[in-house]
């Protein structure tokens, strides 16, 4: 279900005013919800076995943003997480490292040190949520200060949340300007992930609009959710966002990454998402640089499946680390 690709010329104009941005976003083709869900479901039925499964599991591990976003996060927990990100399976050093550790801004320094101590400096990134995560309800200045603090502490990636209130009220340019400002605050050192909180956008049309809006504003990654609401990443909304990044690259030549987050807990789910990526965006996105899983419990399940493939015996939670 390809969207009609706007020309590059058209795209440079659309952000000129609130009106033109609205016209562009509302001019995007509507989403066939039934078709989208059916497509996502049918891609989920692919059977991935043996060597392909082993490859998929290792790829999925290398795409995990190992996340802890709790009020109760302690430096000790973040240190443990950092060590785990570098060596996910202490009993098997052939297990790949995860892509990143994702924490709150005040713990970026701790995460950075922990990763360096485990020998993963430069290999495992530190991502920080910012902009008054997860609600995003704070004045712009506060949000930008949040971002600057994270970047100053050494965050390689910044996960911002959009102002859903403004988006739902139709004030697209405000959202656009905010993403631009945050992108500027990230500078050249940090990649920007833009979280839409798809569970709060209520329609697939809105998710498509938000995806284009985020990409126009300079997002390096578009991300489904914070993991803090009832509905998080689903195959359907991720498929929709994968279509958006595919079409955006076709229109502008700029590649943007996708990160489903929240609710992906099993290897089976993760492999289904990889099938979606391959079949929608293409192989170009099958890389930790362009596709991530925002997850915490997923990693343990991937490791247990990995152990099962290696030994032929089903593994159990006693054989992976406790988060």
């Amino acid at each position: 279900m390809p969207t009609t690709a706007p020309t590059a010329h058209a795209l440079s104009d659309v952000t000129a005013s609130d009106g033109s941005l609205r016209r562009f976003l509302h001019g995007l083709p509507g989403v066939d919800a039934v078709g989208l869900e059916a497509r996502a479901a049918s891609l989920g039925t692919r059977s991935i076995k043996t060597t392909a499964k082993a490859y998929a599991i290792d790829l999925a591990i290398s795409m995990v943003d190992l996340t802890t976003l709790e009020g109760a996060d302690t430096p000790g927990k973040v240190r443990a997480l950092g060590a785990k990100a570098v060596h996910p399976d202490p009993t098997d050093r052939s297990a790949p490292a995860t892509a990143a550790v994702c924490v709150y801004p005040d713990l970026v320094g701790v995460a950075k040190e922990a990763i360096a101590a485990a020998g993963g400096a430069g290999k495992v990134k530190v991502a920080s949520v910012a902009t008054a995560f997860p609600a995003g309800r704070a004045p712009l200045e506060v949000k930008l200060a949040d971002v600057r603090a994270a970047v100053a502490a050494g965050a390689d990636e910044v996960d911002m949340v959009i102002d859903r209130g403004a988006f739902l009220a139709g004030r697209y340019l405000k959202v656009y300007d905010e993403v631009r400002a945050v992108k500027e605050a990230c500078g050249t050192s940090a990649r920007l992930k833009v979280i839409f909180e798809t569970g709060e956008l209520s329609t697939y049309d809105n998710i498509r609009r938000a995806s284009w809006l985020g990409m126009l504003a300079g997002a390096d990654f578009i991300k489904t959710s914070t993991g803090k609401v009832a509905v998080n990443a689903t195959p359907a909304n991720t498929l929709l966002m994968l279509e958006a990044v595919r079409d955006f690259r076709a229109a502008t030549g700029v590649q943007v990454g996708v990160k489903p987050a929240g609710g992906i807990r099993t290897s089976k789910d993760a492999v289904k998402f990889l099938v979606l990526v391959n079949e929608t965006a293409g192989e170009g996105w099958l890389d930790p640089h362009w596709f991530r899983f925002g997850a915490s419990s997923l990693l343990n399940d991937l490791l247990m499946q990995r152990q099962k493939l290696a030994t032929g015996r089903y593994s159990g939670p006693d054989y992976v680390t406790v988060d």
Binding site: Q307, S315, P317
Partner: protein, 301 residues
């Protein structure tokens, strides 16, 4: 129209026997079934033929249920098990028929088996809050300490149910496992799985939390092998495994030091079983507490 014609015109309603995993009744993940016949070879029903993935799912369900079930008070577990006996009593006729067909018994003998089975549930229900006093207690030690031993459930127990005694034998091995707070993955008798699958329906309607007992039917050797090798299974009861299979399973079980209960010849399932099957899946935890009393020189409060 006489009553007789009405009866002959009625279509038969066959029962689809299903697995019992995590409180739900799924078909086998493999989609396979196998034919179950009575003792004279007449077809009775198709039973699901569970695969190793069903076994894996059952272990996940059992592990999930373990915290709640082992954490429930012994008194509460006793009530729940007694409830199972009550529900079983209400479906006595059905079980008499199934046991008679499965084991080739007369109705009277099958009824005796079912009654003994109900009594067995009641017997184990009574044990839940007594076993701790019997096998645990305060130990005398040479120091100013309280030293207390308490039996604790082992965890997820795979149970290979007896092949011949499809109902009384089954309950005699499952009830002691769950009475003490373990959760169970049961491999039903390969030849006569129907009473076990019907028992699952009783468990589902008698306050036993989903996942505490999971029932799989199919080729015993096929299902038991992945269970014996499973790293998240803490113990295995080999009651229904023949000598060769038991040896193979015991070797596989050694890998993560599972507790293994070897097959033991049972001449008479009707006999009072004793507490051995309960203690087989209990681990003793011993703790030391200072008594709080000071030495001779101090105050005695």
């Amino acid at each position: 129209m006489s009553d007789k014609t009405v009866k002959t015109e009625r279509l038969s309603v066959f029962k689809t026997y299903k697995l019992y995993i995590g409180g739900k009744f799924p078909r086998s993940e493999s989609g396979r079934v196998y034919e179950v016949s009575d003792s004279t070879g007449n077809w009775l029903a198709n039973a699901p033929q569970a695969s190793r993935k069903d076994a894996r799912d059952a272990v996940v369900a059992a592990r999930k249920a373990f915290g709640g079930w082992s954490g429930a008070t012994a008194y509460n577990r006793g009530q729940v098990l007694y409830r199972v006996a009550e529900m079983l009593e209400g479906r006595r006729e059905q079980f008499v028929n199934e046991v008679a067909a499965a084991e080739g018994l007369s109705k009277a003998k099958a009824a005796a088996v079912v009654d003994a089975t109900v009594d067995r549930w009641v017997w184990y229900a009574g044990w839940t809050d007594k076993i701790v006093q019997v096998v645990g207690g305060a130990n005398p030690v040479a120091g100013p300490f309280f030293n207390l031993s308490t039996p604790e459930p082992t965890g997820v127990v795979a149970v290979v149910a007896p092949q011949e005694s499809s109902f009384l034998g089954l309950v005699s091995v499952v009830a002691p496992v769950i009475a003490t707070g373990n959760t169970a993955v049961v491999v039903a008798s390969e030849k006569a799985p129907l009473p076990a699958l019907s028992l699952a329906e009783v468990l589902a309607t008698s306050d036993v939390p989903g996942g505490v007992v999971n029932v799989l039917s199919g080729r015993t050797a096929q299902i038991a092998a992945p269970l014996a090798a499973h790293q998240d299974v803490n113990a295995i009861d080999l009651a229904g495994a023949d000598e060769a299979l038991a040896k193979e399973l015991e070797i596989a079980a050694a890998d993560n030091l599972k507790r293994v209960l070897r097959p033991q010849p049972v001449d008479d399932w009707f006999a009072t079983p004793g507490i051995d099957r309960m203690t087989a899946f209990l681990e003793t935890k011993t703790v030391w507490h200072t008594t709080g009393a000071l030495g001779a020189a101090g105050s005695s409060y």
